[in-house]
C-alpha cells in the first residue's frame, strides 16, 4: 500500500507484529490522544466558554433582558455593548441569558436522540433477522422523512412548545442517523473474532453487548452525539425564529425573531441580528471541530494528513496522492527528494 507518509512518519507501533515494550506508551488511551488534536482543543475551549455562560448567564448579564428602556434601537455604545432593540432592551443581556436556553435544549435533545439511537442501532445489529429488519425499516422511515417540517408540525400543534418539549420532539425525531451508523458498526463488530471468543468463553449475550461491543463504539457514539447537538441547536433556533416557541423564554433564535419581525434589516440595525447569528455559528463550529477531532481519532489516515504533508514539504518533496518518496540518505536531505509517479 503506497502512501505518501509511510517512509517518513515516526512509526507508532500499530501492526500486530511489533514487539511489545515494557513501558506504557503515552497517549495510548483514546482520551489523551484526542486532547492532542488542536482542532478538537479549540472546539472544546469554545464549548467550555459557552457552558460557563449558560451556567452563570443570568447573574452576570448587565441588564434584565426583558427590561424595556427609552434607548430605542441604539447602536453599540458604552452603556449597551451590543446596542438595544426596538423596545430598548439590551441585546447583550439577551444573548447571555439566551445561552442557557440554547445549550440546555441542545444537550437534552442530543442525549435523547443518542440514547434512542444506541438502543435501536446496537439491538438491530446484534439481534439480526426479523428484529433487525423491523428496526431498520423504522429507522429508515425516520431518516427519510424530512426532520424540520416534521418538527414544525408537531411543535405547532402542541399547546405550548417550551424549551424542554422542543428538546424532546427533536430527540424523538432525530435518532435515526445514529441508529443506522451504529447498526452498521455493530454488524461488522459482531463478526470479529473477539466477539466469537467471548462467546466461546461462555459470556452471556448482554454482557457481550455491553462490555465487548459498546466500548468499541464510543467514538462513533460521541461523534453522533455532537452531531445531534448541532442539529438540535439549529432546529431550536429555527423554530424560535419562525415563532413557534414562546417568546417568553430567551434563546438566540428569539432575538432573531424579534429582529425579523421588526424589520431590523431594512432599518440597518445590524447589531440586532448579527451577534446572535455569530454565536450560533461559533457554537456550531465548535461542535464541528470536536467532531473533526473524533473523526481523525477513528480514522488514523486523516490524522496524519496535514502534519506529514508539512514534514514532507520542508524537505522539498511535493506531497501528492499515491506516490512513494524514496529518501536516499541523510546527506542529501537538503536537496529536493525523489518523486516517483
Amino acid at each position: 500500500m503506497a502512501t505518501s507518509t509511510t517512509a517518513i512518519e515516526v512509526a507508532a507501533p500499530t501492526g500486530p507484529d511489533d514487539v511489545g515494550t515494557g513501558v506504557a506508551r503515552p497517549g495510548r488511551r483514546p482520551r489523551l490522544l484526542f486532547l492532542r488534536n488542536s482542532k478538537a482543543l479549540v472546539g472544546i475551549a469554545i464549548l467550555v466558554l459557552f457552558g460557563i455562560l449558560a451556567v452563570v448567564g443570568p447573574w452576570i448579564a448587565p441588564y434584565d433582558p426583558n427590561q424595556v428602556s427609552t434607548a430605542l434601537l441604539q447602536p453599540p455604545s458604552g452603556a449597551h455593548w451590543l446596542g438595544t432593540d426596538h423596545t430598548g432592551r439590551d441585546i447583550l443581556s439577551q444573548i447571555i441569558v439566551g445561552t442557557r436556553g440554547v445549550l440546555v435544549v441542545g444537550l437534552v435533545a442530543g442525549l435523547g436522540a443518542t440514547v434512542l439511537g444506541v438502543i435501536v442501532g446496537v439491538t438491530a445489529g446484534f439481534v439480526g433477522g426479523l428484529g433487525d429488519e423491523g428496526l431498520s425499516a423504522l429507522s429508515n422511515v425516520f431518516l427519510v422523512i424530512p426532520q424540520l417540517p416534521l418538527i414544525i408540525i408537531i411543535a405547532a400543534q402542541l399547546p405550548s412548545a417550551g424549551g424542554i418539549t422542543v428538546a424532546l420532539v427533536i430527540g424523538v425525531t432525530g435518532w435515526a442517523w445514529g441508529a443506522r451508523v451504529l447498526r452498521a458498526q455493530t454488524l461488522s463488530l459482531r463478526k470479529r473474532d473477539f466477539v466469537e471468543a467471548a462467546r466461546a468463553t461462555g459470556e452471556r449475550t448482554w454482557r457481550i453487548v455491553l462490555a465487548e461491543v459498546l466500548p468499541n463504539l464510543t467514538a462513533i457514539i460521541a461523534a453522533g452525539f455532537v452531531g445531534t447537538v448541532t442539529f438540535a441547536v439549529l432546529s431550536q433556533v429555527t423554530l424560535a425564529f419562525i415563532g413557534i416557541t414562546p417568546v417568553s423564554e430567551w434563546n438566540w433564535g428569539t432575538i432573531l425573531f424579534w429582529a425579523q419581525n421588526n424589520l431590523a434589516l431594512q432599518r440597518g440595525a445590524w447589531w440586532w441580528f448579527v451577534p446572535a447569528g455569530l454565536c450560533i455559528a461559533l457554537l456550531g463550529m465548535a461542535l464541528t471541530l470536536v467532531n473533526f477531532g473524533i473523526d481523525e481519532l477513528v480514522n488514523p489516515r486523516l490524522r496524519s494528513t496535514g502534519m506529514h504533508a508539512r514534514t514532507l514539504r520542508r524537505r522539498g518533496i511535493r506531497p501528492r496522492v499515491g506516490f512513494t518518496p524514496v529518501v536516499r540518505d541523510q546527506w542529501r536531505a537538503s536537496r529536493p527528494g525523489e518523486e516517483e509517479r
Binding site: L148, Q157, T238, W270, G277
Partner: protein, 326 residues
C-alpha cells in the same frame, strides 16, 4: 432490477408511514386547536368544508379511529387535502401545487450546484493534501455551522439593502404577470440568485468535507497506485479512478441530505419571502392554518421521497456492486 424494486417498496412504505404520522399527530397531541378555531368560524363554513376538516383532524367523536383513518385515505386519494383556513375557501391542494414548483426549482438548482462545486473542490483538496487548500476547511466549516436563515439575513443586509444589487424579497417582479416569456424568466433568475447563492454557500462545505475525506481514504488504496504505476497521467487517475470511487458515498449521502436541504430551504424561503412551499408553511404556522400545514408537510415529505428514489437509482447506476446484490 431487484434493487430498484426493493427501494421502491421501501419508499412506498415510508410514504404510508408519513401519511399515517400526519394523521396521528393532531390526534395524539394534547389540546385541540381546531375545535377552538371551528368555534370561532361558526356558520361561515359550509358542510363540505366542515366535513373535510373533521376527517383531517378527527373531530368526529362518534367515528372509530380506524374509520377516520379510512376516510382520511379516501380524501387523500381524491387529491383533497382539505380547505385552507386563511385562504378560505381555496383548497389546500391548489395552494400547494402552485407553490411547489418554485421550491423545487430553487432547491434543485442550488443543491445541484452546491453538490457539483463541493465535490470538485473536495476532490482538489483531497488530492493536494497539505497545501494552502487545507486551510479552506475551517472557513467552509464556519459557513456550514451558520444557520441558513442567518446567512440569508446577512446576504440581504449586505447585497440587497446596502449594495442594492439584488432584491430583498419576493420571487419575481410583482409588476409582472407569470408567463413563459424571457422577461419573466429573467426576472425569476434575478430574484432567485440571492437565495440560491445563500443555499450554495451554506451547504457546500459539507460536500467538500465529505469528498475530501473519501479522497484521502481512496487514494491510499492499491488500485490507485496501480493506475499511477501504469503510467496514467495524474488527471486520469484522479477522475477515472479515485474520484469515481470516492463519489459513491457522496451520492448516497446526497440522497440522505435532501431531507436537511429541504429543511434549510424552507427557512430560506421564509427569510426571502420566496413563494415556495416553505414560505407557505411559514404563513400557515403563523396563522394557525392547520389544514394547510398538514398539506404542506405531506407534499414536502412525498417530494423528498421521490428525490431519494431518484438518488438511489443514480447510485445503482454508478456502483455496479449494488446491482448485483439481490
Amino acid at each position: 432490477m431487484r434493487f430498484v424494486l426493493r427501494r421502491a417498496l421501501f419508499y412506498l412504505f415510508t410514504a404510508w408511514a408519513a401519511i399515517t404520522i400526519n394523521f396521528l399527530v393532531p390526534r395524539l397531541l394534547p389540546g385541540d386547536p381546531v375545535t377552538a378555531l371551528m368555534g370561532r368560524m361558526q356558520g361561515r363554513i359550509d358542510s363540505n368544508a366542515e366535513q373535510s376538516l373533521r376527517v383531517l383532524f378527527g373531530l368526529d367523536q362518534d367515528m372509530s379511529l380506524w374509520d377516520q383513518y379510512v376516510h382520511y385515505w379516501q380524501m387523500l386519494l381524491h387529491g383533497d387535502l382539505g380547505l385552507s383556513f386563511t385562504h378560505f375557501p381555496t383548497p389546500v391542494a391548489d395552494i400547494v401545487t402552485q407553490a411547489l414548483p418554485w421550491t423545487v426549482g430553487l432547491v434543485g438548482i442550488a443543491t445541484v450546484i452546491a453538490f457539483l462545486l463541493g465535490t470538485a473542490v473536495g476532490t482538489g483538496i483531497g488530492w493536494r493534501r497539505g497545501t494552502w487548500a487545507d486551510s479552506l476547511l475551517p472557513i467552509t466549516t464556519f459557513f456550514s455551522a451558520v444557520p441558513y436563515f442567518w446567512l440569508g439575513l446577512i446576504a440581504i443586509a449586505v447585497f440587497a439593502v446596502n449594495l442594492g444589487w439584488f432584491p430583498s424579497n419576493g420571487s419575481y417582479d410583482r409588476g409582472m404577470v407569470p408567463s413563459l416569456s424571457w422577461e419573466f424568466v429573467g426576472s425569476v433568475i434575478y430574484y432567485g440568485t440571492l437565495p440560491a447563492l445563500t443555499i450554495v454557500v451554506s451547504s457546500v462545505s459539507g460536500w467538500i468535507l465529505g469528498m475530501r475525506n473519501m479522497m484521502v481514504t481512496v487514494s491510499s488504496e492499491d488500485y490507485v497506485t496501480v493506475a499511477h504505476a501504469k503510467g496514467l497521467p495524474a488527471r486520469a487517475v484522479v477522475v477515472g479512478y479515485a474520484a469515481r470511487n470516492a463519489i459513491l458515498p457522496q451520492v448516497s449521502s446526497f440522497a440522505l441530505a435532501l431531507g436537511f436541504v429541504v429543511g434549510g430551504t424552507l427557512v430560506m424561503e421564509m427569510v426571502f419571502s420566496y413563494q415556495g412551499i416553505g414560505y407557505t408553511l411559514y404563513q400557515a404556522v403563523s396563522t394557525h392554518d392547520y389544514p394547510l400545514m398538514q398539506g404542506c408537510f405531506l407534499v414536502i415529505t412525498l417530494s423528498v421521497l421521490v428525490a431519494n428514489l431518484v438518488a438511489d437509482l443514480a447510485y445503482a447506476a454508478l456502483d455496479p456492486r449494488t446491482r448485483q446484490e439481490g
